[in-house]
Every structure is written in structure tokens, then in C-alpha cells.
């Protein structure tokens, strides 16, 4: 005989669908809200996180990526001479003006790096080649922004701050939090698009030599470089994320939405599971009269909750993953890494079991005379 829990769940298909719909709705809601939160968070710092550098050298007091001010490139040579530094490269991130062939203009963020370096390069290049950026006045942009930037194919020509530029490739999935698309180009071209003076840069990217203690390398860099801060990639990423998430209203809105999504999800699941249990309260009363222990009844209720959680999560997470995939082509960026998916299963299980515990409390207090009512 299948357990009473399984029978209670699957016997009434309509009831099952109602229960699962509630859980699936909650799972999708929570997953999408958390995914949006993570999407915003990672978008604010993805350029830093994908840089491949151990350290970012920035002008003193710079709080986040987009606000960098230029400093002397003499620091580059001092950095290269610092013990423990394997590679040091100049790097530019600068807002600029993108002018389409039809004359319309948009803001963009110019990202200038050394195409021969392994640091600061665009990732997910789906068309064209990074090496093409060695040619002067060439750029690589993301496909997501094609229509906004007025380009449709490799070879299209535009102007960046009055300087002619040619599209030589496309990336996929590189978004910006500022809504200004990234235009990857060579460092030299970026100095003209910025504009940034010939002997200046906005950042230095540093890679430590293998086996060197990073704090020791940083101490060496701090001792040699002037008027700059030396930040680990993680530190600078965190500072940039913090600025956008907490220094502006945008992040707070996203966090509130995620928290509200979580609360609504918990309430929906609690009500759904509670109703499913209370539907069978008379049967639990009968079981008690027959001599079932509270433990026996708790097991049935918790089994029902766990099975509902597993099925609801299974369907809900598939829907959420589909939403994540479709968000790659839409306006919102949803990110659901595997640990978050796993955590969400734990959360779903916890929500269902907690809701079941509330109904267990009700079952414990069943009026015994209830079983005698016709």
C-alpha cells in the first residue's frame, strides 16, 4: 500500500494541481526576484570580475569603476619593476558618445585594453576576433545592444566622440548596469575616444607572479606608486557593486523586490500547504482515535509537505531557468547559478515543512469529539 501521505496528495488531482500551482508560483517568484537581484549585482561589476587581474590600480579615492580619473602612466613602469608583478597593463574605462550612421547619438562606455594582453579582454566573443582590435579605430560590442547602437554586422561604421570607428566583432551576454553599452577597443583607440591624454591611463591591471603572496606584492606596489590606490579585484568589484546597489536607489529597489518576492512566496506556500493539511484534518482525527501516535501523524503531514516541495520545486525551477535563458535576449538580466538553485530547493523544502508544522499544531489540538460528528 502506498503511504497515506502519497494517497492524500495524488488521489484528488484538482487539489494536487492547486497545491502545486501555489508552490510553483512561489518558487518561480522567489527564483526570478533573486535572479534579478544577482543579475543586477553581477552586471555592476562583471567587467572587473572578468578582467583576469589580481590588482586594480586606481586614482586615489576612486570609489567605483565608472568614476575613474586619469593618472600618469609612469606608474605602469614602476609597477612592472615591483617584485612579484608578472604583468602590468594600462586599461581605460571612460564614458563617451556613440554616433550612429543616421546621426542619432547615445552614451557608451569605452573599454581600452592591450589586445596582446590576457587581461581586460572582452569575453563571450561570438563573432569576429579580439586580435582585429589591433587595427586602429575598431570596436567590439555586445549583440544585445546592436539595435540601440545602430549596428547590425561586422564592418558597420560609426563615430565615437567624432572619431570614425568600425565594428569588428560581437560579444553575447555582456550587459552594463549604467545602460551605456560597452565598446571594447585597443588602449590607443580608447585614448582618443575617451579622450585620455597620451601619457595617462585610468587604471592599471596587475597580475602577480605565481607563488607570490598577494599582500606582499600589494605592499610593494603601494610603496612604489604615487597618488593611486592598489585594490584587489575582489575589493574593487565589491566597492563598485556596493556603490550601485546601496549608493543609488536602484539597488535598494531591487533588494526590496527580492525580499517582497521571498515574503509573498513564503505566504503562498504556507497557505497552500496549510489548506492541503486542513483538508484532511478529519482523517487525522480518526487516526488519533484509532490509536495513532502524534509522531505517526506528523510523519504523514511532513511527507506530504516534502513531496509537494520536491514536485513544486522541480517544475518551478525549470520555469525559472527558462526565464533565465529568455532574459538573455530581453531587458532584464536574471542570473541563477547552481548554488542558488540548490539553495532554493532548501528554501522550498523549509517553506513547505514550516507551513506543515503550523498545521501540525492545529492537528495536535483536534477536538476529539470531532470524530463523532456526522
Amino acid at each position: 500500500m502506498a503511504s497515506l501521505a502519497v494517497r492524500n496528495l495524488f488521489h484528488d488531482r484538482v487539489r494536487l494541481v492547486v497545491t502545486l500551482t501555489g508552490i510553483i508560483f512561489a518558487v518561480v517568484l522567489v527564483a526570478v526576484q533573486i535572479g534579478l537581484f544577482l543579475g543586477f549585482t553581477t552586471t555592476t561589476s562583471n567587467l572587473i570580475d572578468h578582467s583576469g587581474a589580481d590588482f586594480w590600480v586606481v586614482s586615489r579615492g576612486v570609489g567605483y569603476l565608472e568614476v575613474a580619473t586619469p593618472f600618469s602612466e609612469k606608474n605602469l613602469y614602476h609597477a612592472r619593476a615591483t617584485p612579484g608583478v608578472a604583468v602590468a597593463e594600462k586599461f581605460i574605462v571612460r564614458f563617451s558618445i556613440w554616433k550612429q550612421a543616421d546621426g542619432s547619438q547615445h552614451n557608451c562606455e569605452v573599454v581600452g585594453f592591450d589586445p596582446d594582453s590576457s587581461m581586460g579582454r572582452p569575453w563571450n566573443v561570438v563573432e569576429g576576433d579580439v586580435r582585429s582590435l589591433k587595427l586602429p579605430d575598431t570596436v567590439i560590442v555586445d549583440r544585445f545592444y546592436q539595435s540601440k547602437l545602430g549596428v547590425s554586422r561586422v564592418g558597420d561604421a560609426v563615430e565615437i566622440r567624432g572619431v570614425r570607428a568600425r565594428v569588428v566583432g560581437f560579444t553575447e551576454g555582456i550587459r552594463t548596469f549604467t545602460t551605456s553599452p560597452l565598446a571594447f577597443t585597443s588602449f590607443k583607440s580608447a585614448q582618443r575616444y575617451g579622450p585620455v591624454d597620451q601619457d595617462q591611463t585610468t587604471f592599471l591591471l596587475i597580475k602577480a607572479a605565481p607563488g607570490w603572496d598577494l599582500e606582499r606584492v600589494r605592499a610593494g606596489l603601494k610603496a612604489r606608486l604615487t597618488d593611486v590606490d592598489v585594490l584587489t579585484t575582489r575589493e574593487f568589484s565589491g566597492m563598485t557593486t556596493n556603490y550601485w546597489m546601496f549608493g543609488t536607489g536602484a539597488g535598494v529597489t531591487v533588494i526590496l523586490a527580492a525580499v517582497l518576492g521571498l515574503l509573498v512566496g513564503v505566504v503562498v506556500v504556507a497557505q497552500t500547504i496549510y489548506a492541503a493539511t486542513i483538508d484532511h484534518i478529519r482523517e487525522f482525527g480518526t487516526l488519533k482515535a484509532m490509536g495513532a501516535t502524534n509522531g505517526y501523524i506528523y510523519r504523514i503531514i511532513l511527507q506530504q509537505a516534502a513531496i509537494s516541495a520536491a514536485i513544486g520545486y522541480g517544475v518551478g525551477i525549470v520555469v525559472a531557468i527558462l526565464a533565465e535563458h529568455s532574459s538573455r535576449h530581453g531587458g532584464a538580466n536574471i542570473v541563477l547559478p547552481v548554488p542558488v538553485r540548490a539553495g532554493l530547493f532548501g528554501l522550498t523544502l523549509a517553506m513547505c515543512v514550516s507551513a506543515a508544522m503550523v498545521s501540525i499544531n492545529k492537528v495536535t489540538k483536534i477536538d476529539p469529539a470531532m470524530v463523532f460528528r456526522g
Binding site: E283, A289, P368
Partner: protein, 242 residues
């Protein structure tokens, strides 16, 4: 004859203060094996409260209940399920079958509670259904059974625990005349042939034909005890009839 249930000075008061309502007021009663005892009385007289306390699912306010010689009113909540499982079988007016389980599975639940091994459960549950004349309804869900058939499944389920006492609350109230007769005949046979004590709470005067003894309850007290011919009830005790 030794009683299986001995009730002494039993009182039960619901709520407290001005809202207090006394459902039982000093009830003394013995329940004997091999007898069908009817508890009769108007609505609100305390019949169901009495049967709930005798079935160990409700605690009295004061007084004593001995079940198979053991005082049960002072047992803890954790101890009571085992007592119910060992000694009591319930038959309810509304059948109280599990709608998601088939007839045979409904009976199996009682055996599962008794920790009967899985393989043995199905065999014993089937045999019990055969006994109550439902040999061809093992795999039928309660929704597809008639009222009389449902009540017979409930009786089979009550018997699965092999209890000393069957407590039946208005077992014929939801049944037609023929089904009611079948169920009552079955309960009488349980008492007379299987040595069970059967207690039936009822308003139904047709039940009198199947009873050995009638206990009239009014306002929470035993108003009269009589046999079904209306004679005051006598029971054999040590030293003669009482």
C-alpha cells in the same frame, strides 16, 4: 461477570466560569463483554461525551475509568494512543473512512498502527472484509460503496486491532433500514460470538431488538438501566445477582 470498563463518579465540565457546562454529572457504569449495550437519551444528554471518555479520547473533569482493570484517566497523552490501539475499536456515524484509500487499505491502516508486518496486513485485512461480506469490494474506494458497505468496512477496520470494546456512535443513522439491520446484526454477532463488549450510542428505537441492555442518559446522569424487555437490569456478581 467481570466488566471490561468500570466508570465511577464521572464528571465532565466544558469551559469554565459563567460559560461552564456540565456534560456528565456523577456517572457510574459498567460495560461487559458479550453484551450489546445501548446508550440512549436526547441530544445533549452526554452520550457522546461518555463514549469519548470511555474510548480514551477525552479526559474527564473528575472520576475514574478502568479499562481492562487499568485506571486510564491519569495516563499521559503519550500513553493513551497505545491503550486505544490495544482495547478500543470505533465505528462512527459518518463512517470516517479514508477516502483516498481502498476498502482493504482502510482496514490495513489499523493493522499498520498495530505494527503488523506489511505482507501479513493485506491478508488479514482481506479476511476481515470477507467476514463482513465485502469479499468482492477489496479494491473499491469508499466513494463507490453504499452507506451500509462503508459502515461494514468501518466495522472491519475497528475489528482489525482485535479490540476488547467496540464503541459505535449512531452506526445506523446514515443507513437505510436493511443496511441498518445488517450492521446491527453484525455488531450483535461480534458481542455474542466473539466475546466483545459493544456499546452503541443511538436514538434509533429499531436498535433495541439487537441489544442486551439499555442505559438511558438524561442531563449527564444515568436515568435508568434496563434490559430490552424494560426490566431493571441485573448482572451476575460474586455473591449473587445485583
Amino acid at each position: 461477570m467481570q466488566p471490561i470498563i468500570e466508570v465511577r463518579e464521572l464528571t465532565k465540565t466544558y469551559a469554565e466560569g459563567a460559560a461552564a457546562s456540565r456534560a456528565l454529572n456523577g456517572v457510574d457504569l459498567n460495560i461487559y463483554p458479550r453484551q450489546v449495550t445501548l446508550l440512549m437519551g436526547p441530544s445533549g444528554s452526554g452520550k457522546t461525551t461518555l463514549v469519548s471518555i470511555m474510548g480514551c479520547i477525552l479526559r474527564p473533569t473528575s472520576g475514574s475509568v478502568k479499562l481492562a482493570g487499568r485506571e486510564v484517566t491519569r495516563l499521559s497523552e503519550k500513553q493513551l494512543p497505545a491503550v486505544r490501539l490495544r482495547h478500543i475499536g470505533f465505528v462512527f456515524q459518518g463512517f470516517n473512512l479514508f477516502p483516498t484509500l481502498t476498502a482493504v487499505e482502510n482496514v490495513e491502516v489499523a493493522l499498520e498502527l498495530k505494527r503488523v508486518p506489511r505482507r501479513e496486513r493485506r491478508m488479514r485485512a482481506g479476511a476481515l472484509l470477507d467476514q463482513v461480506g465485502l469479499g468482492d469490494k477489496h479494491r473499491v474506494y469508499p466513494a463507490d460503496l453504499s452507506g451500509g458497505q462503508k459502515q461494514r468496512v468501518a466495522i472491519a477496520r475497528a475489528l482489525a486491532g482485535d479490540p476488547d470494546v467496540i464503541l459505535a456512535d449512531e452506526p445506523t443513522a446514515a443507513l437505510d433500514k436493511d443496511s441498518g439491520r445488517t450492521v446491527l446484526e453484525m455488531l450483535r454477532r461480534l458481542a455474542h460470538d466473539k466475546d466483545r463488549a459493544v456499546v452503541i450510542v443511538t436514538h434509533d428505537s429499531r436498535t433495541l431488538d439487537y441489544a442486551d441492555r439499555v442505559v438511558d442518559i438524561e442531563d449527564g446522569r444515568i436515568a435508568a438501566e434496563r434490559d430490552t424487555d424494560g426490566e431493571p437490569y441485573l448482572v451476575a456478581q460474586e455473591g449473587g445477582w445485583k
